[in-house]
C-alpha cells in the first residue's frame, strides 16, 4: 500500500517539475512547482519525517512560492507569451550535462546497491534532542543568517 502511494507521488513530483521547467509563463511554473512540493511533502511524511513535511508545506509551498508569485506579479514583465522558449543552442548543453550526471549516478548506485538495514523509525523526540542539543549552535547561526538576510533585503529594496 505505502509502496504504491510512494511511486504514484514520485510520478506526480517528476511530472509537475517537468511541466514547471518547460513553462514560459513564470506564474504557471510556480504553480506547478508548488504542486510538486505538496507531493514531496507527502513523501517526507511516508519516510517518517512529519516535521520536515510540515515545514516543507508551510515554508516552501506557503512562504517561498508565494514570495516568488508576489515578486513576479509586482514586476511588469510585459507579455510573457512573447518570451521565446530556450532554443536548441540553450538546452543541448543542459541536456548533455544533465544526462551525464544522471547516468553516472544511476550506474554507481545500481552497481553497488546499499544493503537493507533494519528499520528504526526516527521519533520526533529524537529530532528535537538532536536539533537543540547536538546542533544548538547551528540553530543560533541560522537565526543570525535570517536576520542578516532581512537587513540585506531591506537595504536592496529601499527607494532612493
Amino acid at each position: 500500500m505505502e509502496q504504491v502511494v510512494f511511486y504514484i507521488l514520485a510520478a506526480v513530483v517528476l511530472i509537475a517539475t517537468l511541466f514547471s521547467i518547460t513553462e514560459k509563463h513564470a506564474v504557471h511554473a510556480i504553480i506547478y512547482l508548488a504542486t510538486s512540493f505538496f507531493a514531496l511533502a507527502v513523501i517526507f511524511y511516508l519516510l517518517n519525517a512529519p516535521l520536515v513535511a510540515v515545514f516543507e508545506v508551510i515554508i516552501y509551498a506557503g512562504a517561498i512560492m508565494v514570495l516568488f508569485l508576489f515578486v513576479i506579479m509586482m514586476l511588469e514583465l510585459g507579455h510573457p507569451e512573447k518570451i521565446l522558449l530556450p532554443g536548441v543552442r540553450d538546452w543541448a548543453p543542459a541536456l548533455l550535462l544533465g544526462v551525464v550526471t544522471l547516468a553516472a549516478f544511476i550506474l554507481l548506485v545500481l552497481h553497488h546497491p546499499p544493503p537493507a538495514l533494519p528499520a528504526n523509525p526516527v521519533k520526533i523526540r529524537d529530532f528535537a534532542t538532536v536539533l537543540f542539543r547536538k546542533y544548538g549552535v547551528a540553530v543560533e547561526i541560522v537565526s543570525m543568517q535570517l536576520l542578516f538576510a532581512l537587513v540585506g533585503a531591506l537595504y536592496l529594496g529601499r527607494r532612493k
Binding site: L14, F68, I83, T101, A116, Q145
Partner: protein
Amino acid sequence: MIVPLTHLLILSTLIFTMGIFCLIAWRKNIIMMLIGIEIMLNAVILAFVGGAAYWGSADGQVFALFIIAMTSAEVSLALALVVYLHRRKKSVDSDDFSTLRE
C-alpha cells in the same frame, strides 16, 4: 523503510538533474534560474530525509530543516536583487546586466 534507498536516491537525482537542466537551459531569464535552484535544493532535502530514514538517525532531518531555513534567507535576498535589477533596467534578462564589462 517503505522503499529501497536506491529508488529514493534515483528519484532525488532525477529531480536534481531537472534543476540543472532548468538552470542551464533558461540562463537568459533570472527568475527561471532561481526556480532551477529551488528544484535542486529540494532534491537535496529528499536525499537527506531518505538517508535519515535509512540509518534511523535524526541528523538528516535536522539538516533538511537547516536547508529549508537557508533557502528562505537565500530566496529573500535573491528576489530583492531581482527587484533592484528590474528597477534599474526594466528587464529580467541576464544579458542586459553587463555594465561592468563596458
